[in-house]
């Protein structure tokens, strides 16, 4: 009469074992760096300088999508300079959610750059503002807005 069968409380069936965990403070540090760069973009307003900086941010997101957050420049900086100064992490985090969030960031910033390329100058600050909200919430409060979008986007996909 044991209701709490252990295998029910384990990972849902069909889900592969998660990859090795990462220090959750890494993505937050990376988000803080991204947020600072996005603030600078917004302060530049519209123009070639703002577009160039947003392009750099898009490339950082692209690295995150391709290699995971631990493979971005912020991730490397965190491991080289920040993590040695911190106590060991209390718990490790699945690297897939922040990586998905990097993809959302890339889509937002990339859309802004494409629109700017076809003449919508205000797309650069608008995209930077949207991305800044997400990066700021991640850095300040640990909320991964991009991760939250996953299921919402998935719901739009056709049923099967």
């Amino acid at each position: 009469m044991s209701d709490s069968t252990p295998d029910l409380t384990a990972r849902p069936a069909g889900v592969p074992a998660p990859p090795a965990g990462i220090d959750p403070r890494g993505p937050r540090f990376g988000a803080a760096v991204t947020a600072v760069l996005l603030v600078l973009t917004l302060l530049l307003g519209t123009g070639p300088a703002a577009t160039a900086l947003l392009t750099v941010i898009a490339l950082l997101f692209l690295l995150g999508v391709a290699r995971g957050v631990q493979g971005t420049l912020q991730g490397l900086a965190f491991r080289a300079w920040i993590r040695p100064r911190l106590a060991p992490p209390v718990e490790l985090e699945d690297p897939r959610p922040p990586r998905f969030a990097q993809l959302i960031g890339l889509i937002v910033v990339g859309t802004g750059l494409v629109l700017a390329a076809v003449g919508v100058a205000s797309a650069v600050p608008v995209a930077a503002a949207v991305a800044l909200v997400a990066a700021f919430l991640n850095a300040a409060f640990g909320l991964c807005l991009g991760c939250e979008l996953y299921l919402v986007l998935r719901r739009w996909a056709p049923q099967h």
Binding site: D3, G45, A121, S122, R154
Partner: protein, 183 residues
């Protein structure tokens, strides 16, 4: 400021003269950035306060808005869940791979199910159960439904969860010993 006056950008600029004035200088832009960050912080704070505790679900009649198909079945069976229900209560957790706080909620509910007799924790991969995700209007992971002994959804929450909140949600549901003597 005379970069290819495109229809959309001129519309955005002329529609908001105050915004236009504020964005013309660095100080104005810095002010807008501060307002943006303050608004985001406030929204986060409000959303967190709302989500942090279990909210009782309304009666099926008034359940969350749109008259979807089968609004009446706010009840789940062990067959639908693929696992038997608890004799007192069942926590149904919707998880996803891209979910940062799912492991924390899983740990809380697993330990709760081990310590409280008659309480079961069922962890579902949301992607593999999109029918339930749509039926119960799950928009984010983790979302947790609290079912009573009959499988009726009594409360729900989403986001990070503490053991105290989970215990508080469990409190109104009768313990199995009480049920067996009175039923």
């Amino acid at each position: 400021m005379t970069i290819a006056p495109h229809a959309a950008s001129t519309l955005a600029d002329s529609a908001l003269p105050i915004f236009d004035a504020a964005t013309s200088g660095v100080a104005g832009r810095a002010g807008l950035v501060l307002i943006l960050l303050a608004t985001a912080s406030a929204a986060w704070w409000i959303a967190r306060r709302r989500a942090a505790r279990f909210r009782p679900t309304r009666t099926p009649r008034g359940a969350a808005g749109a008259p979807g198909p089968d609004r009446s079945d706010a009840t789940l069976t062990g067959t639908e869940l693929g696992a038997p229900l608890g004799s007192r209560a069942t926590f149904v957790q919707f998880s996803a791979q891209t979910c940062a706080s799912c492991p924390q909620v899983r740990r809380v509910l697993t330990s709760l199910a081990e310590s409280e007799p008659g309480v079961v924790h069922i962890d579902l991969d949301a992607e593999a159960h999109m029918d339930l995700v749509r039926r119960f209007s799950v928009f984010r992971t983790p979302t947790v439904l609290l079912l009573d002994a009959d499988g009726a959804v009594r409360a729900r929450t989403s986001g990070p969860l503490t053991l105290d909140r989970a215990l508080a949600a469990l409190a109104p549901l009768p313990a199995p010993a009480l049920r067996s003597t009175h039923v």
